[in-house]
């Protein structure tokens, strides 16, 4: 490699760009920490859990700062969505790889990719005008945990399905031929050979889907009703942590504003932990 002067300048430029790119995440974390500092100091640690309710005020002494009902809202909506989307997504992947005729499989995969590309605000709009009235017909008010979980299911289904499908595709053909030669049936092959070999990719998909469900804002904001309460039934309106930030940032001041940054920081920690886990799993196995 020759070392010309332009080459040296190029490398300097590239290193500088790399530094800026790498610094963005530090900047994000730094600003979240700075902004959440007043509330963490004034509200302390235990009051996020022990306060009787969520009535935030600009000075921590007069307000109530219980985040737990919204944490339950987030976990319930995301949990139900993952529980519904995972089997459907795995069925979709198995359908594409093993049961559908090639033309149908190609069409189906294309459709899942399109579903993955629909913006969350459009899912929210559709949920609000199609699902909520339907639920309202059976159990008013309609805007509910159920509506949120249903919309989230639709949003994370493509994520899990596409990653599972790619994982199934990466299982070496030799495994399949060996299974066929050993006389395994099709379901036996899928359960005994394909799923174990592809489990890393499948888990990665589920973890990323969970992260997406927990971090999603717009769709749940539009269909969940946004009442701060611990859900006791599927038809209760709920408010998630993300929706809370979107709703209250408009007017929050002082410690209240800072409290929203605390919840943002908590969300970020949860989602990053999930993504890191997915990464770790994906790296450890051969056919992710």
């Amino acid at each position: 490699m020759s070392r010309s002067r332009t080459d040296r300048w190029l490398l300097v430029g590239l290193r500088a760009s790399g530094a800026v790119t790498g610094a963005v995440v530090l900047l994000v974390i730094a600003f979240l920490l700075i902004e959440s500092w007043p509330a963490s100091r004034h509200v302390g640690l235990s009051r996020w859990i022990t306060d009787p309710s969520w009535y935030p005020t600009s000075s921590a002494a007069d307000g109530r700062f219980n985040l737990v009902p919204m944490l339950w809202g987030t976990l319930a909506a995301a949990g139900i969505a993952v529980a519904l989307a995972t089997p459907l997504a795995l069925l979709s992947a198995v359908f594409c790889r093993f049961y559908a005729p090639p033309t149908i499989a190609r069409f189906y995969r294309r459709m899942i990719q399109l579903l993955a590309g629909i913006p969350s605000v459009v899912y929210g709009l559709w949920g609000l005008t199609a699902l909520v009235p339907l639920i309202q017909h059976f159990r008013p008010p309609g805007t509910s945990l159920l509506a949120g979980a249903a919309v989230l299911t639709l949003m994370i289904l493509p994520t899990i399905a596409l990653l599972a499908d790619a994982a199934l595709a990466n299982v070496p053909g030799d495994h399949l031929r060996a299974a066929a030669a050993a006389g395994l049936s099709r379901p036996g092959t899928i359960r005994g050979v394909v799923f174990p070999a592809a489990r890393a990719g499948i888990f990665t998909g589920i973890l990323l889907g969970t992260g997406r469900a927990i971090g999603e804002t717009m769709a749940v904001l539009m269909v969940c009703g946004n009442i701060v309460q611990t859900p006791t039934s599927l038809f209760d309106p709920i408010r998630t942590l993300t929706a809370n930030i979107a709703l209250e940032m408009a007017y929050a001041m002082g410690d209240h504003r800072s409290a929203l940054f605390v919840s943002g920081l908590a969300l970020m920690a949860i989602v990053i932990a999930l993504v890191a886990m997915a990464d770790r799993i994906g790296r450890g196995y051969a056919y992710a």
Binding site: V28, G117, L125
Partner: protein, 298 residues
């Protein structure tokens, strides 16, 4: 990947048993039912979009300014704001992301500490929820840098958000260029700058374009990160310092805050989804054409 093209139907002719006693039959039926259910919901969404939004979608809707809080009129000014936000986002994220990708793919060895740090920070950034980007953008660009609610703040916030996907895709594009290109360039004594400009970048163009397009797609679909950075104003922006709403925020506002805004919300959603599909398709096509031309004349 297509190595496994065994004909499953030939390999396992289904024995004629009832579904209850035959697991293969049972899975086949469940898989078909699941696929049919997902397809039904997909068409439900598509049909709703076209049925409820199609009627309002006229040339005038695209060009006119919104009136009566968006209930009437069109989305002209919203489209202009969206384009400006995307422009700011790309002007910052594309050079940064592609330069970082070149650094990671071409100028460092596997395991270099500096690059591992950059890669890890990008992975972390990719996991940050969009509303948290909104919080950051508000605190940093709007308040700390005193940009206020503006197209500039919104675009810069989105630039931070799309950096990971843009960089990663561009890096993959560069890595997919065969090493023979690099050896050949070194053998004829080309400098690394020349190699990059005349050989690697043209050859990796589909990957670079794909990265930018994925970034645009992500930015165009984003709402939560813009709520408190670019703001809500629906008038025609006169500069980057003005507040301006994106298509996605327009949909949100019409659906949630404007009674009777749903028809126009659906029409806007139709425009947004159509744009996303069109951008994706043209970019794939462009990337392919570009490679052919560059490589045949190089």
């Amino acid at each position: 990947m297509h190595d496994q093209a065994i004909s499953w139907h030939a390999a396992w002719p289904a024995p004629r048993l009832s579904a209850r006693r035959n697991p293969d039959r049972f899975i086949a039926i469940t898989a078909w039912l699941g696929a049919i259910a997902v397809t039904t919901v997909f068409f439900w969404i598509v049909v709703d979009l076209i049925r409820l939004g199609g009627a309002q979608l006229t040339p005038a809707f695209i060009t006119n300014a919104p009136t009566s809080a968006g209930r009437a009129g069109g989305i002209g000014s919203v489209l202009v704001s969206t384009a400006l936000i995307l422009g700011v986002c790309l002007a910052v994220s594309a050079p940064l992301g592609i330069a970082t990708a070149i650094l990671l793919a071409e100028f460092t060895r596997e395991g270099n500490r500096y690059c591992t740090a950059i890669r890890r920070s990008l992975d972390t950034l990719a996991g940050v929820p969009s509303i948290v980007f909104g919080l950051f953008g508000y605190a940093f660009f709007c308040v700390y840098l005193r940009m206020g609610f503006s197209i500039l703040s919104g675009g810069l916030t989105l630039a931070c958000m799309v950096l990971p996907i843009l960089t990663r895709t561009a890096e993959q594009g560069l890595r997919s260029v065969p090493d023979e290109y690099r050896y050949a360039a070194a053998a004829v004594g080309m400098t690394r700058t020349q190699t990059l400009r005349q050989l690697l970048l043209p050859a990796a163009m589909p990957g670079l374009v794909a990265g930018v397009v994925l970034g645009v797609g992500r930015a165009l679909a984003e709402t939560a990160a813009l709520l408190y950075t670019s703001g809500y104003a629906d008038r025609m922006p006169s500069s980057l310092a003005d507040s301006g709403r994106s298509l996605s925020i327009h949909i949100y506002d019409l659906a949630m805050n404007v009674p009777g805004g749903e028809p126009n919300a659906y029409a806007t959603a139709l425009v947004l989804v159509g744009l996303l599909i069109a951008i994706n398709a043209t970019a794939v096509w462009l990337g392919e054409r570009w490679t052919h031309r560059k490589l045949s004349t190089a």
